[in-house]
Amino acid sequence: MITFDGVSKRFPDGTLAVDNFSITIPSRTTTVFVGSSGSGKTTLLRMINRMVDPTGGTIRIDDDDISTLEPVALRRRIGYVMQNSGLLPHRTVVDNVATVPLLSGVKKREAREAALALMDTVGLDRALADRYPSQLSGGQQQRVGVARGLAINPNILLMDEPFGAVDPLVRSELQQELLRIQQDLAKTIVFVTHDIDEAFLLGDQVVILKTGGRIAQVGTPAEILANPADDFVDTFIGAERGRRALSIRTVDGKEVVVDGTGRLAGILRSPASESSRPA
């Protein structure tokens, strides 16, 4: 469990990126911070592994005040995945995955074995092990990033727009992969995105943020969609609103669903085949 308690961050240049932010992030579920650019999502995330130190308030991980923990050691037990994968370009895939275990003194051979196993976990062909990051596609790079984040078997995994830079098809694949992995591993994942669609897909708990890290609404996707807390949330999911106000038409003899913008949303199946959402 991670708790933010009245946390603020004012950068040296005066920007108040986060203002008195409090929340509890339950263990073994996925919490998504969503908000537009500059709302403080990254800052919040980076405070968890002390890449950024708050200027006010306390952050606790399972009751340890993290400001009392040694940053380097703390970071080594928290997985971190970022948008541009942040892989070391001069190391092969397998070495990238094994970086942190090696830093922590795991034997080379062992670390390599573990890394190869992790490649399986994230759905990467072991044949890619000896390639360099630049020889992979964007989607593959992100998978390596996720594998690296998992390499130390952390309880906590921080993900900062990990799929923001890959094309929509691949992104969708990666999202499914993450859902699958999370079903198996059940980490405490804190996920940052500005894509409300992605937030609703991945989040058990979704935190909608306004500028300054102010919380507009916290809840499950269904709760938020059914009852937007205020106008801001309403507007924020507005781009979705049109698309989520659906109605039924008939084309070519099939029942199709169109959204508020008139766009085709999909084709209606018989209610019997309904599938239930995990979590």
């Binding site: 970071r75 970022m82 942040g86 070391l88 370009p89 630049s134 690296r148």
Partner: protein, 245 residues
């Protein structure tokens, strides 16, 4: 072109390959000045450059220093030090080395600090968030990635030092400059050309060796980036860049 024929004849004349004024001696002296200079300058400039590149501190200082050092006239500095130290020609090596070090520092410093700064900030950020210490970030991430640029700095420095070490002869040291400085007052063009040719050949050989080193030390992953056309156009944020700004 007759001059070139004469110069080659001179060079291949076996009598010029022996004795204290022989080509091997002069070459060895020249190499020695170059080596001493480059080693000293590298230690100073690369250490400084890595520090500046890693911390981002004193960048303005580095920019200023490289600019100012570049503006220092080699000849002036050389005779100034020679006269100032009043050491006569017995210790001529000292002012010579100082002057050459001054000459070698700007490219080395620029190469190393801009090399470190050209490393993608996100890579460094990722390394830090994985739990690397600052020292590990420097040695395991920044230095290997900056190495080609650092070596590039060494290359420029070596080229300049080899070409300029000729001035050592002006304050009566040896080296290939001897041929030039001795022949200059008597307008012995052949010998001047001999000096110039030997210096140029030496520079090329050294440069060739360094190019090979550079090829070998480009991290394989970085080489892959260079070779993939898609990435080639993405300029790195090597903002050290504005070095001259």
């Amino acid at each position: 072109m007759n001059l070139f024929a004469d110069a080659f004849a001179w060079i291949f004349d076996p009598t010029h390959w022996a004795g204290p004024d022989g080509i091997p001696t002069r070459l060895a002296e020249h190499l020695a000045y170059t080596a001493i200079t480059v080693v000293i300058a590298t230690v100073i400039a690369v250490a400084l450059g890595l520090y500046i590149g890693h911390t981002g501190r004193f960048r303005g200082f580095a920019v200023g220093v490289t600019g100012a050092l570049r503006a220092l006239p080699t000849l002036g500095l050389l005779v100034y030090l020679a006269v100032l130290f009043g050491l006569g020609i017995r210790f001529a090596l000292l002012p010579t080395i100082i002057v050459l070090v001054v000459l070698a520092i700007p490219p080395l410093l620029a190469g190393s600090y801009s090399g470190v700064q050209s490393v993608d900030g996100r890579t460094v950020d990722a390394a830090r968030s994985m739990g690397m210490t600052e020292w590990q970030i420097l040695w395991k991430v920044e230095v290997p990635l900056a190495f080609p640029l650092i070596l590039g700095g060494i290359r420029s420095a070596v080229l300049q030092v080899v070409a300029t070490a000729t001035v050592a002869a002006y304050i009566s040291l040896g080296g290939l400059g001897r041929y030039i400085i001795d022949a200059l007052p008597v307008r012995d063009y052949t010998k001047v050309l001999v000096g110039a040719l030997l210096v140029t050949v030496l520079a090329l050989v050294l440069d060739g060796i360094l190019i090979i080193c550079q090829r070998l030390t480009v991290p394989a992953g970085v080489r892959a980036i260079r070779n993939s056309p898609a990435q080639r156009s993405t300029p790195k944020s090597a903002h050290a860049a504005s070095a001259s700004a």
